[in-house]
Assembly symmetry: C2
Homo-oligomer: 596 residues x 2
């Protein structure tokens, strides 16, 4: 189906919004009246700009407070409408959104409303315009879609139909099944918005917290199925009022928006992009660094060995068990300092995973490789992290390891088994996009979002995982937009014995993050550890958590650039990340890095 987006969903001037929508591949836009009013471009110029960009203007929005009012008020309303229809003629827009009255003058009289809508539709028809009447969830007398439809039905005019808005329908708790009783050709327009499930005033909820389908808690796919079954064949159009998107760059938001509609169409059976290929493990994590010495020292202390070197690039492979870390001292490092730049995801079908990603608008990365290198499929995540789809040492498939030449090395006894999880702080404006990206593009499941108190503000954190927990990525976001260069990242390695791993690390010269003594007094209060156990944890800075499934012990290294490492021991079926301990860990990290 055609896709469209309301200009109010994007940040910037009208031209910035139109450009972003076109670049993201939308077919059309809804023009929000205030965006037009504030634009230096006249309607004809907007029309030309839109056409140049290959966009249609699917809706002009909104008109309101026209129907169900006393005659004098209605006459003024019709006069206003005529002006708007003239503007729409100049714009080349043929459908107008009319919201149900919120005017204190509106009266509760469906017959009156229907009669006035009929007159309005007569006027619209003269301009070749269709009126799409929508129930606002906070409309004065008309607040449900079936009520709006019954008035449209009674008005019985070819230029009058209804507009359905998923937010208004689902926020009110209406049953969307009744949509199937509306003839498809009388559904003039469909606006889609999701929202997190919150118990709050519906108007505030609508104006500040809407999000793209798949980012909230509503069953938008279920609603869309009813609309399609009713016979609707107009555009799927996003109308999202969101305080964060209003500030974010329009380009990425538009891509995020269109991706949400692609996924929605897949969920509803309206489109069949390449199937998701869920990654089955972490092949490697790639650090870039301008100074290889401290990074090598730290990896060495963790028990990694430098096992190979890339044939054509300044990249070392450090390995221990199934945990692999690439250390890249190439050009990117000089730009970004020490950072986690790329993740290799073990994929059952790397080419298929890349096709899926590309179909969902993930930027495909150029293959910057020498002729003899293995062809690696890679895309960029919303935070810029490069994701490589890998088949490590699997017969019949090119392996990235083939690009590396073994180097002589000593193999210490293995203490770390594999990457347990990767933790990536997201750009502030991209947190919702990141969760939808990892879910839809990679097929990972998004967990509940949790709040974590840092001494200097609340963080939010949300993990995405595959079903057996062999790929876990913890996405988090700080309290406010801030310097991207400071966004922390870490790699957690799984061990079966965190005490030994931590001790060996320390004995090899590694520096563990010290935890406050008070934390251990609290552990003693909450759990029944032996004095010896507690002394060990205290000595090594090991944190502890427990849930109904199992236990979690973890500790942290010092930070180099943006990156630090965590050692984690999971016992039983513990599936979390020690969120309970995060405030203490964050405070400890601030304490060794004074001045915030």
């Amino acid at each position: 189906m055609r896709t469209s987006i309301a200009t109010v969903s994007l940040s910037g001037s009208l031209t910035e919004k139109l450009t972003a929508a076109a670049r993201a591949g939308f077919d059309g836009v809804e023009i929000f009246e205030n965006d037009l009013l504030a634009s230096p471009l006249g309607p004809e110029e907007v029309r030309a700009r839109t056409a140049d960009l290959g966009l249609t203007i699917d809706l002009y929005q909104p008109m309101r407070d026209i129907e169900g009012v006393p005659q004098g008020e209605f006459t003024r309303g019709l006069r206003r409408a005529r002006h708007k229809f003239e503007v729409m003629e100049r714009l080349g827009a043929d459908t107008v959104l009319l919201c149900s009255s919120v005017s204190p003058l509106a009266v509760d009289d469906d017959e009156l409303a229907a009669g006035q809508l009929h007159q309005l539709a007569d006027l619209a028809e003269d301009f070749g315009i269709r009126v799409a009447y929508e129930a606002l969830a906070w409309g004065r007398h008309v607040s449900t879609y079936d009520h709006a439809w019954s008035i449209v039905e009674a008005a019985d005019h070819p230029a009058l139909g209804t507009c359905l808005d998923s937010f208004h329908i689902l926020a009110r708790g209406s049953d969307p099944k009744g949509i199937e009783d509306i003839p498809g050709e009388k559904i003039f327009f469909l606006q889609l918005a999701d929202a997190p499930l919150m118990a709050m005033d519906v108007l505030q909820w609508s104006r500040h917290y809407r999000c793209f389908p798949g980012q909230g808690g509503f069953d938008i796919a279920g609603l869309l199925a009813h609309v399609v079954r009713a016979g609707y064949d107009g555009p799927l159009s996003l109308e999202v009022f969101n305080d964060v998107f209003r500030q974010a760059e329009a380009g990425p938001t538009a891509v995020d928006a269109r991706r949400s509609l692609l996924v929605l169409q897949e969920e509803t059976g309206l489109a069949a992009p390449p199937e998701p290929v869920v990654p089955s493990g972490v092949a490697f994590a790639e650090l870039v660094t301008p100074d290889v010495v401290p990074v090598s020292a730290l990896l060495g202390a963790l028990g990694f060995s430098r096992t190979a070197r890339h044939r054509s690039k300044p990249v070392d492979l450090w390995q221990q068990g199934e945990a692999r870390v690439l250390v890249n001292t190439g050009p990117a490092a000089r730009r970004d300092g020490t950072a986690l730049a790329a993740i290799g995801l073990e994929s059952p079908d790397p080419a298929g995973a890349a096709r899926r990603a590309e179909s969902l608008l993930a930027p495909v990365l150029p293959r910057r490789r020498a002729l003899q290198d293995a062809p690696l499929d890679a895309v960029a995540a919303p935070d810029g992290t490069e994701l490589f789809f890998c088949a490590t040492d699997r017969p019949g498939l090119p392996s990235w390891t083939g690009d590396f030449e073994p180097v002589e090395h000593r193999q210490d006894p293995r203490r770390l088994a594999r990457v347990d999880h990767l933790a990536l702080t997201q750009p502030w404006h991209q947190f919702d996009e990141a969760a939808l990206f990892h879910h839809s593009v990679l097929g990972l499941s998004a967990q509940e979002s949790v709040d974590v108190a840092d001494p200097y503000g609340l963080h939010r954190s949300r993990a995405v995982t595959n079903s057996d927990g062999t790929v876990r990525i913890a996405l988090s976001v700080g309290p406010a937009p801030s310097d991207d260069g400071a966004r922390a990242q870490h790699i957690a390695f799984a061990t079966e014995d965190v005490v030994t791993a931590a001790r060996c690390f320390r004995d090899a010269g590694g520096r563990l993050l010290a935890m406050p003594a008070n934390y251990y007094d609290d552990l003693a209060a909450r759990f029944e550890f032996t004095d010896e156990e507690l002394a060990t944890y205290r000595e090594l800075g090991i944190l502890y958590d427990r849930d109904s499934d199992g236990e979690f012990r973890h500790c942290y290294t010092e930070t180099i650039g943006r990156v630090f490492f965590e050692l984690v021991q999971r016992d039983g079926g513990y599936r979390g990340y020690g969120a309970q301990n995060a405030p203490v860990r964050l405070a400890a990290q601030h304490a060794v890095r004074p001045g915030r």
Copy 2:
């Protein structure tokens, strides 16, 4: 009464929080457990630090999920409590907050709860500790203050009392009158927090949106009166969970916090600071500028004349009717660029106004003046704007104008009458503080907060005014913390004829901000202007608004540095600021200043 603040209300490490609380003049603190756990200081060190700062530790908080649970669970709870009591002994804290159980294991059995609380109090007594039991608004079985009190009464133990929390009481809609039925000596503690009135889930509301008394919508003074009448004589303690305060610098937040308690005590009749002296007009606005030429040109084009020069400082007085602008090219200008640095408020009693401000913790500014200058009382607003309390040319009082020597000038016909309002963008973290400051320190009334859509994010705006509208300050805040140097400021001048004023300004070489043509098409749709009127507004960039009281016409000049000017014509009783037009104006300003 003694004042106290929970460490969770402030940002930073525990030591930063304690220092801020002490500097703001609090008598004590509640130590939030997580702040202690995350601190590198042991309990004894915290005790010593607190004592050094002259603070008492009034409460250790919180313990929870101890009472109303099965025996095995209770035994574990008692064990936990003993550990906590040991920590409190080391801290030197003698009162612990116990929140009503939220445990899924808790049973609805008041007798069981009372019995277990009695046992807990026995244990506490051994440590010389008192237990203050509080109903959480979302407690599993105990969620109202009277219910919690009935359990405390039944438990009947000298070491057990209740803790009252204004948020939990008022958010549930409980009638606080019943507090008077609780014996004062059994109210062991009182926690105060306000909150904006919002229809939302009470737990989310409590954890993210609490604010200091006077910043929200609850009648905290009314509640406090009941608590005092019950005979409570412990500290007034703030416990405020707020996402913004968590990020803000602890120092200013602590001052804001303590100011809120001073005002609250005044409202409740518990304290009598010097009475507010409401300003009766704007004596002057002072601009600092590193380049006097464009500022002078702009003021000249607006019809101002340079009428006097300061005797000892590089400051010019520009005047027109009752509108006075000081232009200061002194040292501050070289630091800040062109900015609105100070406001002279006409005051019935300048010395009294300064005493009021000082008693409410407004920083009193040093009198940087030459010997012969008039003694001017001045304080700093939260955004750094200097506020001077003035008696302009009034007999018997020193006048700031006495410091100026008249210079020869030509007087054009007067087009502007006075300052209509001043608009100041606030630092992002200080918006709530600013409203409380202007209300409490200056005695201005705060209006409703409104959202204004800028192309790049939502702004909020809230005006403070005196009763006859001769002092109006519009406080606003942008969508996210950002560069303070970019915070826009403007001075609006009142005129009886905005068309003539704008035309003269333009004819004198002034540049008006052009408004988009589409805006005027919309005006034509909404109102019945003659073509000629509309053509005039379009030509001059005049915006229009109307409410039930009157009409508002306004236009804007270009921006110099951070500052621009507005010309406003109010007819009838219009009391707003044209918020309806702000999105169009903001977009127009972005359009002439590309690149955000």
